[in-house]
C-alpha cells in the first residue's frame, strides 16, 4: 500500500453534516491552533483516542492515531543497512551446527563473534553441509556462504567432512576457524579438524577480546587465558548475535575436488530409543495433553505411534491423568523440544513459559482464540480425538509403507 494521502469524499460529507450519526467521529480533531491574540490554544479533550475497551488512551509517541487522520497503512518492514565486503582482506570461517537445517542460537552467537573478529575488512564465510532450511543468513551475519553437498556428507560422516574443511582451508586460508563447542557435532568436528590441521584449539571459549581469549578449563573451576589461536571452539553466549546489519549471502564455490577416503566408520542409522526413558527436559519431540483430551488411552496410543515423549499441562496432572513428573510449565519441567505438540491445551502463561525454548509448536484445540494458537506455528481447530485418530492412522500407514520400501 502506498503512502499517498487520498481524499475520502464521503467522510468529508459526513464531517459537514451535523445531523449524521457519524458526524462526531469524523470531526478532524484540532488539538492546537493559534489564537486571535497570537497565543497557541489547545483543546485537551480531543487528544487521544478511544481504546478497544472503551477507555480514552493518549499515545504521546505519535505512532498511533485512533479514529481520525488518514487511514493507517501497513508499516513497511525496516530494512537494516547492507554490509558489503567486495574484496575481503581475510576470511573468518564458521561451521554452524545447523540443527534441523536452521541456525541455532549457539550458531548465531558464533556468527556474532565471527563478525566481531572480521571487523570491517574481513568476510565471514559460513560452511554448511547438505540442504538447509535457513532463510535469515543475511541478518545473522553471513557474508559468504559455502555449501558442500553430496551423498558422502550425509548422515554421520565426520572424517569426510574434515576432508572438505581442509579443502576449504587450502582455498580460503581463513584467519580464524570458529566452531560451536557443542555435543551436537560442532565440538567433535572442530577437534577432528584441529588434529588434522595440527592447530592447538582454544576450547569452551566464552570471551574473545583484544587478541586474548578466555575459555573454561578442566571441570569448570578454572579459566584458561591465552592469545586467540586460529581455531576457536566457542561455548554458548560467546558473543552477542548480529542485530543491526544485513549481510549479502554471496555463494562461494569450492574450486578443488574434495579428497575421498574410504570411510572407516560406517553409520548404521539411528536406534529406536524408548521415548518414555528420555528425560523430558531434553526430549526432542513432546506430545502434551491438557484439559481438552478426553480419551487418554488414545493419547498414549498416539504418543507411541509418533514416537514422542509424553507431557501434560497442570490441569491434566491435577486431575490424575498424568504423573506429576510429566508436567510442563513454570511449576513443572521447562522443556527444550524441537517440536512440541499441544493437544487440548489453551496455553496458560505458566505453560507458555515452560515451552519458551521450543522451536516448533503444533496446537490442536477447539477454541480458535486461545493463547496457545497465538504461540503455535501450526494450529488445527477441531476435535482432538478425531484428529489424533486420523494422525495415528496416517503415521501407521507411513511407517508400514517405509518398511515395505526397505524390505
Amino acid at each position: 500500500m502506498s503512502d499517498i494521502i487520498r481524499r475520502d469524499p464521503r467522510a468529508e460529507w459526513i464531517a459537514r453534516n451535523r445531523l449524521h450519526p457519524l458526524h462526531a467521529a469524523m470531526q478532524t480533531a484540532q488539538t492546537s491552533w493559534m489564537g486571535p491574540n497570537g497565543i497557541v490554544r489547545k483543546n485537551p479533550h480531543v487528544v487521544g483516542f478511544i481504546g478497544p475497551n472503551g477507555l480514552k488512551r493518549i499515545d504521546r509517541s505519535g505512532a498511533q492515531q485512533g479514529g481520525s487522520g488518514k487511514r493507517a497503512t501497513a508499516s513497511a518492514v525496516v530494512q537494516l543497512p547492507l554490509h558489503v565486503i567486495e574484496q575481503p582482506a581475510f576470511y573468518i570461517a564458521v561451521v554452524p551446527d545447523m540443527i534441523g537445517g536452521r541456525l541455532s542460537s549457539h550458531d548465531k552467537d558464533l556468527l556474532g563473534l565471527a563478525n566481531k573478529l572480521a571487523g570491517s575488512d574481513g568476510a565471514v564465510v559460513a560452511v554448511v553441509f547438505g540442504e538447509h532450511k535457513e532463510t535469515a543468513f543475511d541478518t545473522a551475519g553471513v557474508d559468504r556462504l559455502l555449501q558442500i553437498e553430496g551423498e558422502l556428507f550425509e548422515g554421520y560422516a565426520p572424517e569426510q567432512r574434515v576432508l572438505a574443511l581442509s579443502a576449504v582451508e587450502s582455498q580460503l586460508a581463513p584467519r580464524h576457524w570458529l566452531l560451536p563447542d557443542s555435543r551436537t557435532g560442532g565440538g567433535e568436528l572442530g577437534r577432528r579438524l584441529a588434529a588434522k590441521l595440527g592447530e592447538r584449539p582454544a576450547t569452551r571459549v566464552w570471551q574473545v577480546a583484544e587478541g586474548q581469549c578466555i575459555g573454561r578449563a578442566g571441570a569448570g573451576r578454572e579459566d584458561l587465558v591465552r592469545s586467540a589461536p586460529r581455531l576457536i571452539l566457542a561455548a554458548v553466549e560467546c558473543a552477542e548475535p548480529v542485530s543491526d546489519t544485513r549481510h549479502e549471502v554471496r555463494q562461494v564455490e569450492l574450486l578443488d575436488q574434495i579428497a575421498r577416503n574410504l570411510p572407516r566408520i560406517e553409520d548404521l542409522g539411528a536406534v529406536a530409543v524408548d521415548p518414555a526413558l528420555i528425560p523430558m527436559a531434553e526430549a526432542e519431540f513432546i506430545l502434551s495433553g491438557g484439559n481438552g483430551v478426553k480419551d487418554w488411552t488414545q493419547f498414549h496410543q498416539a504418543a507411541a505411534a509418533l514416537g514422542a515423549t509424553e507431557g501434560a499441562s497442570r490441569v491434566a496432572v491435577d486431575d490424575g491423568f498424568m504423573p506429576r513428573n510429566r508436567q510442563v510449565g513454570a511449576t513443572g519441567t521447562w522443556v527444550t523440544a524441537r517440536v512440541y505438540m499441544a493437544v487440548g491445551i489453551s496455553g496458560a502463561i505458566q505453560h507458555l513459559q515452560g515451552i519458551g525454548a521450543c522451536d516448533k509448536v503444533i496446537a490442536i484445540n477447539l477454541d480458535p482464540g486461545c493463547d496457545m494458537i497465538k504461540r503455535a506455528d501450526l494450529s488445527v481447530i477441531g476435535d482432538s480425538a478425531a484428529i489424533l485418530a486420523a494422525l495415528i492412522e496416517r503415521v501407521t500407514a507411513y511407517r508400514q509403507g517405509g518398511a515395505r520400501d526397505a524390505a
Binding site: 509517541s61 505512532a63 554421520y156 572424517e159 557443542s182 555435543r183 551436537t184 565440538g187 567433535e188 577437534r191 577432528r192 588434529a195 588434522k196 584449539p201 582454544a202 576450547t203 578442566g218 571441570a219 569448570g220 573451576r221 578454572e222 579459566d223 584458561l224 587465558v225 592469545s227 553466549e237 552477542e240 572407516r264 566408520i265 560406517e266 548404521l268 542409522g269 539411528a270 536406534v271 531434553e282 526430549a283 519431540f285 509418533l306 514416537g307 514422542a308 524441537r338 517440536v339 502463561i349 507458555l352 519458551g356 516448533k360 503444533i362 480458535p368 494458537i373 504461540r375 503455535a376 506455528d377 501450526l378 494450529s379 488445527v380 481447530i381 484428529i387 486420523a390 494422525l391 492412522e393
Partner: protein, 259 residues
C-alpha cells in the same frame, strides 16, 4: 558376541571434585574403566601418565584392577608423545578414554590427536559395544537428547566415553590398597601451552542482558508487555480431521521427527 582375547587399554587421569577441588578418580575416566571391565574383565589394562605416587589413582585400583601402569612424568609434561609411543607397541584393539580431563586444560583433544597420530578411527560418545567380530566392532554412540546411533567401526580404534556410558562401580578400599602401581621411566616432553597461557579461577559468566533497541516510548512499552507470540502461525479452521492430520504429518516429516 565378544572374543575372549580382547586387548583393551583404558587411559585414566586424576580428576578434581567440582566443588572442593579435591583429587579423586575422574568421573568419565571411571566410566571408561567400567566399560573396559565389562568388555575385557581382568585382562583390562589401565594406563596413566603422571605421578605414580598419587593417592587418587588407587580409586581406580579399587574398582577391581590388579595393577595400573603409570608413565612417570611431572605435571607440566605433555602426555601425548608418551602415550603415542606406548600405544604403538601395546597391540591394543580398543583404547578407551574419557572425553575431557577434569584438571589442567581439559580441551578433550587427546583422543583426537592420538587417533590422528596412530591412524586409527575414533568414536566419540561411546555408550555400548554390541559385538566385535571379524575385525569390526558394532557400537552404540550416544547423541544429545538421549538418542543413540549404531556405528560399525574397524579395529583397532579409540573411543571416548561421556556421561551416557554405564555408571562406574564403587571403589573398594581393600583392592585399592592391594593393587600394584607399576611406574615406567620415560623421556619427559614439556607442554608448550603454558608459555603464553595462564590459569585463573573461573569467573561466573555475566548473564546476558535483554537489550531492547527501541527508539520511542511506545516501542519500549510494547517490548516490555509483549506476550510470547509466534506471529504468522498457520491456523487450519473448518477442515476435516484427515486434512488437519495431514498438515501435522507434513510438518513432522519436514522436521525429521518421524523415524
Amino acid at each position: 558376541m565378544l572374543p575372549d582375547n580382547l586387548n583393551i587399554i583404558t587411559l585414566v587421569s586424576i580428576g578434581a571434585h567440582p566443588t572442593s577441588g579435591r583429587a579423586r578418580r575422574a568421573e568419565q575416566d571411571a566410566r571408561a574403566v567400567e566399560l573396559g571391565l565389562r568388555l575385557a574383565g581382568d585382562k583390562l589394562q589401565v594406563l596413566h601418565a603422571g605421578n605414580p605416587a598419587d593417592e587418587a589413582l588407587r580409586a581406580y585400583l579399587g574398582m577391581g584392577l590388579s595393577e595400573l601402569t603409570v608413565l612417570e612424568q611431572p605435571s607440566h609434561g605433555d602426555a601425548l608423545p608418551l602415550l603415542n609411543s606406548y600405544l604403538k607397541d601395546a597391540g591394543a584393539q580398543l583404547v578407551l578414554t574419557g572425553s575431557q580431563a577434569e584438571t589442567g586444560e581439559g580441551s578433550g583433544m587427546l583422543p583426537f590427536l592420538l587417533a590422528e597420530q596412530l591412524g586409527w578411527p575414533l568414536v566419540v560418545g561411546l555408550a555400548e559395544v554390541e559385538k566385535i567380530e571379524n575385525g569390526m566392532a558394532q557400537v552404540l554412540q550416544a547423541l544429545p537428547r538421549g538418542q543413540r546411533r549404531r556405528l560399525k567401526v574397524r579395529l583397532p580404534f579409540i573411543a571416548c566415553v561421556d556421561n551416557a556410558a554405564p555408571t562406574a562401580r564403587q571403589s573398594a578400599f581393600g583392592p585399592a590398597r592391594r593393587g600394584q602401581l607399576q611406574a615406567c621411566e620415560v623421556a619427559v616432553v614439556d607442554d608448550s601451552l603454558l608459555v603464553d597461557a595462564h590459569f585463573q579461577p573461573a569467573r561466573p559468566r555475566p548473564k546476558r542482558l535483554k537489550v531492547i533497541k527501541a527508539k520511542t516510548g511506545a516501542e519500549r512499552m510494547k517490548a516490555a508487555t509483549a506476550k510470547a507470540a509466534g506471529g504468522g502461525g498457520q491456523v487450519l479452521k473448518d477442515v476435516s480431521p484427515q486434512a488437519g492430520a495431514e498438515a501435522i504429518f507434513k510438518l513432522l516429516v519436514e522436521e525429521g521427527m518421524l523415524r
